[in-house]
Amino acid sequence: MRILYFAWVKQRIGVGEEELSPPPEVRDVAGLIDWLAGRSPGHAEAFANRKTIRAAVNQDFAGPDHPVAAGDEVAFFPPVTGG
């Protein structure tokens, strides 16, 4: 699974991209966040306030219940501020 981070999520974690194989019990976005938050203090800090985190699965916005699977591209970032 390809995991991407943007903006301050990326700054806190320290990398913009990771190639990871979460265990089979990680089935959705919320489960993936729980698992990622345990990987390092930076990950824990990035995911400390779930309300400020948005996700995309395969480049579409996705809610916490959205399924994730091996081979997916999953991105985490703050609410967008373009325009």
């Binding site: 943007f6 995309a56 703050p78 609410p79 967008v80």
Partner: protein, 151 residues
């Protein structure tokens, strides 16, 4: 009508983009544009824009297709800059062409409202003295985008 969508570091040229939508044709009656610029609020030294390559283009293409579905458009251009932008410089351009003014004006407002809330860009502000801050999303932008949702 094929939308023109560009994500780029370079500034854009409003006159050239306008000419691209109207040159050699006589069916465009109205051309609406919006240019968003970087303001120098609170001692801002520069704005740094990051985006999600791939998803950005997909998200904007989807919004552009929705606009073309809702309004009879003859042309549609979205250019969004990324990277470092200094105060006074342009950040984003939305340009819409139609036979009639209402379609051009409404679709232009629709697109910029959606770009604020539906495209994966993030702005970091750098201040004189070295402080920096990520721009926070505004509830007002969510409300502006929501008013376009079909009832």
């Amino acid at each position: 009508m094929t939308p023109r969508i560009a994500i780029q570091e370079a500034p854009f040229d409003l006159a050239a983009e306008t000419a691209r939508l109207t040159a050699g044709r006589q069916d465009v009656g109205g051309l609406a544009s919006f240019v968003g610029l970087c303001r120098a609020d609170d001692g801002l030294a520069a704005m740094v824009l990051e985006h999600y390559p791939g998803m950005t283009e997909r998200a904007i293409a989807r919004i552009a297709a929705e606009a073309a579905d809702r309004w009879p458009l003859l042309g549609l251009t979205v250019i969004h800059r990324v990277g470092r932008v200094e105060p006074g410089a342009p950040i984003v351009l939305v340009l819409t062409a139609s036979a009639h003014r209402t379609a051009a004006l409404e679709s232009c407002a629709f697109l910029i409202d959606w770009l604020k809330t539906g495209a994966p860009f993030w702005k970091r502000e750098e201040f004189e003295g070295g402080a920096e801050r990520w721009v926070e999303a505004k509830a007002a932008d969510d409300a502006a985008a929501a008013r376009w949702k079909p009832a």
